[in-house]
């Protein structure tokens, strides 16, 4: 495979050589001199007053350096949050605990074994209280989780009322009126979109190193948002940003769970400052399950009303979303991401209400898709049930109600406009790729043999590329972390004196291959080989500003900024080349690793000459600043709205309830593609996580609030043997929201797949009368549904 092709080419990843040889540098791989190790005492009880907390024995344990509790750190305040609706998390428990896994005390010791020994020596008594776990009970306020809050309902998101300034019309009456029509077909499904544990395979890890001489922190953390962490530390410790350097080196998967500033990061920094030595903490898998954010966790009823011939007349969702005990980064704002795509690819009135309730469980926040998989799941499941009800093909019913290509930009009832789309185009491609007619035939043949084969269809539109500066006006603001408020992207492109290029971006990879994609963008713009381009990310000293990697935003926002910075560098390089060649800058063209005068290929300046000239006053134009560098920020006017349609072919063993995925086809449209290899990789992984939710994963608290799925034994991830190879294809509908026409692909696979699988299983079992099964569709649950339908 070529390594030098550029935009649209499959360039071998620049990050891979270190990683495949075992030399990638993750946080836990680092061991600074004199480092001390942290272990936390965490609550085994969901809700209790702490009646005794005695750390004296722990302090005497061999190898212990220090033990800290709430009073030692209370001066720092609670953990900062971006959308601070609800109760913010105390850094260490403040006389009470509100979920299993809540940190009560921090031990610092000479090694991790000694730290854990000391945790075991802490004497703590609890006055156990009745926890609030069930979402309906939480909403009822029968027991309040936090006395100081008015209600367990922290916020209610409604389709028309989420942002008063838009003056949106409430469409509820229109939806309700449609249900009363004589020709109305009304289909409702009560469904759970279960809580999930993100499970990045790399546990989170942080090393803080306070240098008492310089009065500054160097913090390495496994995070998606190093600048937010740096800002939070600056703010909480009262330091200048120049005295806090945060580095996110290799990050072993994030999926949203590393898109939070965590109390452990702040506490490790505190300990380092207090002790004047580096301090390190790496979470255990059990801590990852109970003290790193969860995702999803909704219950609700979706209702679709339409005519007998398949015309949608309205959609209604009434749901409750679980926020957990404490508000962290986005927590309460997650359902809003779903609200913006509540109507999916369809033109219809929407009534949408989601109550955000607090419970005695771990905080929920952004997990791959974040609000969007939930919203699309409810919509697309009920569309499927409606299609079955009226006896219409599930693809036909969707196509009948799509926004049409000439209607874009298409302003939805939520006030935002879908940027571009050809939804039917994706469906047509899917039909061709999957051989839809043949599959229908195959299903009928299988059914005739008594086999339970089903075809599931799932469409989606998502919102990503965050994003528009107006988000700050509705409470998404990085200002709480001491950063500029908005979600601007940024890129710095610098051609060095030896004609290598350094690119610095405000967003870093957790596996997405930024070093490769950004090298392609800049290499394409300058005509410099990707081998000579070094992409730096995740270091707050290298770049003054960065929002981070999440919400499928890196390429469409920070990539766009880098694209623009590259153009500026090329323009300046043209002026230098013109000076060298004694020509006009307007006549300079870049080709084959250098510049020449248009029409005179022999009149040529190589990049090496241009770069050197830029750094010598006597060889560059007098009116130009020295250096060859540009720093551009990019503020998108709108989010981007990728879309697609997926198809799954499944077979259910009615004796065991086992679901087998026979085939999976996906057509995704993320606009223009820089690297088809990386884009497909993102879709593969996204689909695997959607299948994981559909078939396997479930984060379970029992009634007493015990975490029942605290290990990978109890929380099964899909293995290689559980998944099929995937058939991916794409349509390309560029966006005009950014200059590259790219939309984002990180979450599409997840948003498109869970409902596709469930729709397929329900299709397989519909001849038996099964109408719905809640995820995860593990054999026991599927078997029970078959039994229930059969009896």
């Amino acid at each position: 495979m070529a390594t030098t092709s550029v935009m649209g080419g499959a360039v071998k990843r620049r990050e891979d050589p270190a990683l495949i040889k075992g030399y990638g540098s993750f946080v836990d791989d680092m061991t600074p001199t004199r480092v001390a190790h942290v272990a936390f005492l965490r609550s085994p009880i969901a809700r209790a007053k702490i009646t005794k907390l005695d750390t004296s024995a722990a302090k005497e344990t061999e190898g212990v350096v220090a033990v800290y509790t709430h009073d030692d750190v209370s001066h720092l305040g609670p953990l900062l949050a971006q959308v601070p609706i609800g109760k913010l998390r105390p850094l260490l428990a403040d006389g009470e605990v509100n979920h299993v896994g809540e940190a009560i005390a921090m031990v610092v010791a000479e090694n991790r074994y000694a730290a854990q020994d000391a945790v075991d020596a802490i004497d703590v008594d609890y006055d156990v209280m009745t926890p609030v776990i069930d979402l309906k009970k939480a909403k009822s306020d029968e027991i309040k989780v936090h006395d100081e809050l008015e209600s367990n309902v922290l916020h209610t998101w409604t389709y028309h009322g989420y942002w008063d300034a838009l003056g949106l019309e409430d469409q509820t009456a229109e939806v309700d009126a449609a249900m009363e029509r004589d020709d109305a077909v009304v289909v409702s499904l009560e469904m759970t979109n279960q809580r999930l544990i993100p499970v990045a395979i790399e546990p989170r890890s942080v090393i803080a190193d306070w240098n008492p001489g310089y009065g500054s922190f160097t913090i390495h953390s496994s995070t998606q948002v190093p600048h937010a962490l740096g800002g939070a530390v600056s703010k909480m410790f009262g330091l200048k940003s120049t005295d806090v350097r945060v580095i996110a080196p290799e990050v072993g998967g994030g999926f949203g769970c590393k898109l939070n500033v965590y109390n452990d990061e702040i506490l490790v920094a505190f300990a380092s400052q207090a002790l004047g030595r580096p301090v390190k903490w790496t979470e255990t898998r059990r801590e990852a399950a109970g003290a790193t954010i969860h995702g999803r966790g909704w219950i609700g009823t979706a209702t679709l009303v339409g005519t007998k011939d398949g015309e949608f007349l309205g959609y209604k969702l009434e749901a409750i979303a679980d926020m957990g005990a404490y508000t962290q980064n986005f927590t309460v704002a997650i359902p809003l991401l779903g609200l913006w795509i509540a109507s999916g690819q369809y033109k219809m009135p929407v009534s949408w209400t989601v109550d955000c309730v607090v419970t005695n469980t771990m905080t929920t926040d952004a997990y791959r898709g974040a609000g969007r998989p939930e919203a699309i799941y409810y919509l697309e499941r009920v569309i499927d049930a409606y299609a079955r009800e009226i006896g219409m093909d599930p693809l036909d019913v969707r196509v009948k109600n799509f926004w049409q290509p000439d209607e874009f930009p298409a302003t939805m009832g939520c006030g935002f406009a879908l940027d571009s789309g050809d939804y039917e185009g994706a469906v047509e491609k899917l039909k061709a790729e999957a051989g839809y007619e043949d599959l229908l035939q195959k299903r009928e043949e299988a059914r005739a043999e008594g086999r339970h084969v089903g075809i599931g269809i799932g469409s989606y539109v998502e919102v990503c590329g965050f994003g528009p500066a107006v988000l700050a006006e509705i409470g998404f603001s990085w200002a709480n972390y001491g950063l500029p408020a908005s979600f601007n992207g940024s890129g710095i492109v610098r051609v060095n004196p030896d004609a290598t290029v350094t690119v610095v971006i405000g967003t870093g990879p957790t596996g997405q291959g930024h070093q490769t994609t950004w090298a392609q963008i800049v290499g394409d713009g300058l005509g410099i080989p990707v081998e000579d381009i070094k992409v730096l990310h995740g270091d707050t000293r290298e770049h003054p500003m960065g929002i981070g990697t999440f919400g499928s935003r890196s390429l469409s926002v920070d990539g766009a900024a880098t694209f623009e910075a590259t153009k500026k560098v090329r323009e300046k390089a043209a002026r230098i080349a013109a000076h060298i060649l004694e020509a006009s800058a307007d006549d300079i063209v870049f080709e084959d690793g250098g510049a020449h005068v248009a029409g005179s290929p022999d009149k040529r300046a190589e990049w090496a000459q241009i770069a050197k000239a830029a750094y010598q006053a006597h060889t560059s134009p007098e009116d130009l600043d020295s250096g060859l560098e540009a720093h551009t920020t990019f503020s998108p006017g709108n989010a981007t709205w990728p879309f697609g349609t997926h198809l799954a072919l499944v077979e259910v063993d009615s004796d065991t309830g086992d679901v087998k995925i026979l085939d999976y086809y996906a057509v995704d449209d993320c606009g223009n593609v820089v690297s088809p290899m990386i884009v497909n990789g993102q879709v593969h992984g996204g689909i695997a996580q959607g299948i994981g939710q559909a078939l396997f994963e479930d984060a379970v608290y029992d009634e007493a609030g015990n975490m029942l799925t605290g290990s990978l034994l109890d929380y099964p991830l899909p293995t290689a043997a559980d998944l099929p190879s995937l058939h991916l294809s794409h349509t390309v509908t560029p966006t005009d929201v950014n200059p590259m026409g790219v939309k984002g692909i990180g979450e599409a696979g997840t948003i498109g797949s869970a409902h596709t699988i469930v729709n397929a299983v329900v299709d397989a079992l519909s001849p038996l009368g099964v109408k719905h099964i809640d995820m995860p569709l593990r054999p026991k649950r599927v078997w029970a549904a078959i039994q229930e339908a059969s009896n």
Binding site: R13, I20, F26, I201, G252, M677, Q689, T719, A720
Partner: protein, 162 residues
């Protein structure tokens, strides 16, 4: 024990896990810890030629054994075919599970250099990956198998896709 061809000797606490010994005493940090319970497989190494999850073994149990970690897989600067396959077929994203996954796949191919897709999938099912959906890991192992057999690997499936 012998690690990547080098004799190593050390006194350790009896409870020291082999993975901690490799990472902290020998500074061979390519072997990762993902779950400490033997489920994720990120810590997979070869002990006397067999794949072993090194978080489920005490360092003392490896006394006298021959250990190969990811750092010792490439020979004379040449990537192992499985490493090459992972690079050529985008078999890794974040790269955290990758060393363990490569060690398992290398052990699989050492036993059977022409595994079916099903055999590959079952051969690596003890190693969890959260990024790739395993699709390209399977392609990477197929690539490596072809290389081991001296055949031309199949073309990448993103080529020609539209």
């Amino acid at each position: 024990m012998t690690v990547n061809g080098q004799e190593v000797t050390a006194d350790v606490e009896p409870r020291t896990l082999l993975v901690h010994f490799l990472r902290e005493n020998l500074r061979l940090t390519g072997t990762h810890v993902g779950c400490e319970t033997g489920y994720c497989g990120a810590c997979t190494i070869h002990v006397d030629g067999q794949p072993v999850k090194s978080c489920t073994m005490l360092a003392a149990q490896a006394d006298g054994a021959t250990v190969t970690t990811i750092e010792g897989l490439a020979q004379n600067g040449e990537l192992h075919p499985v490493q090459e396959g992972f690079w050529e077929r985008h078999g890794l994203q974040c790269g955290f599970c990758t060393p363990g996954m490569i060690m398992s796949a290398a052990a699989l191919l050492a036993e059977n250099d022409n595994p079916s897709e099903d055999q590959i999938r079952h051969g690596i099912e003890g190693n969890l990956c959260r990024c790739t959906g395993y699709h390209n890991i399977v392609r990477a192992v197929e690539y490596a198998g072809a290389k081991v057999r001296g055949e031309e690997p199949p073309a990448p499936d993103w080529e020609g896709a539209s």
